[in-house]
Amino acid sequence: MDLKLFLVSFAAVFLSELGDKSQLAAIALGGSSPSPKAVFFGTASALILASFISVVLGGSSSFFLPEKIVKGIAAIGFGLLGLRLLWPESSENI
């Protein structure tokens, strides 16, 4: 195995993900969730699947997934998770 390529891709991805939104989400959800183990496995598997898709496609994921809609759904998801943490009582009454 090409160790140099392995280390370069590790370093590139590690540095670009450090402090990125998914790590911030992992901090927020990991600290406030009743099941931090689930947050870790959920975050790690989502990131790995996303990068697996990138590697397999090698360049063009936008032709079958409209990026704006995908990010829009993600934004709604994060918004709901955040609102539920800020106002847990009101979300139970809905």
Binding site: K21, S22, I27, P34, S54, V55, S61, I73, G77, E92
Partner: protein, 142 residues
């Protein structure tokens, strides 16, 4: 005549360790309340459930969708296309992503032993809203 044999190492640091070890069920109120809301309606009210699978699925779905087409994925794509060794790039990227998520969750856990539950929930909520705003900004500018 030094008769005091008691070592000064008996500091109350054991308490914080117990909190970390008992990280499985740190929030009793969440499990009780969200079970009720899950019975009433299985939609947005139970986005963050109490068990493993609701938390896993909601975390997985949001992060997966947010990361698709993100700059990390673009980096991975370019490297795997250039290098002709996609498996090595995938292994390196995968290990890096596991490391950053582990650091994130552990940092959150550490913060939850330092900061009060209410403060942490508020900060986490604000952080998630900021991520939401960032994603909306991405959509607008692209």
């Amino acid at each position: 005549m030094p008769s005091s044999d008691s070592t000064p190492s008996d500091t109350p640091s054991v308490i914080s360790e117990e909190v970390i070890v008992a990280g499985e069920t740190p929030r009793k109120r969440t499990s009780e309340t969200s079970d009720k809301s899950a019975d009433l309606s299985s939609n947005s009210a139970s986005v963050v459930g109490s068990g493993f699978w609701p938390v896993f699925i909601s975390t997985f779905a949001t992060i997966f969708l947010a990361e698709l087409g993100d700059k990390t994925q673009v980096t991975t794509m370019l490297m795997s296309a250039e290098s002709q060794a996609p498996l090595v790039v995938f292994l390196g990227a995968g290990l890096a992503l596991i490391s950053t998520s582990l650091i994130g969750v552990l940092l959150g856990q550490w913060l939850s032993t330092r900061v009060s539950e209410e403060t942490l929930d508020t900060c986490a909520g604000i952080l998630l809203i900021l991520i939401t705003i960032g994603l909306v900004g991405d959509i607008m500018s692209s």
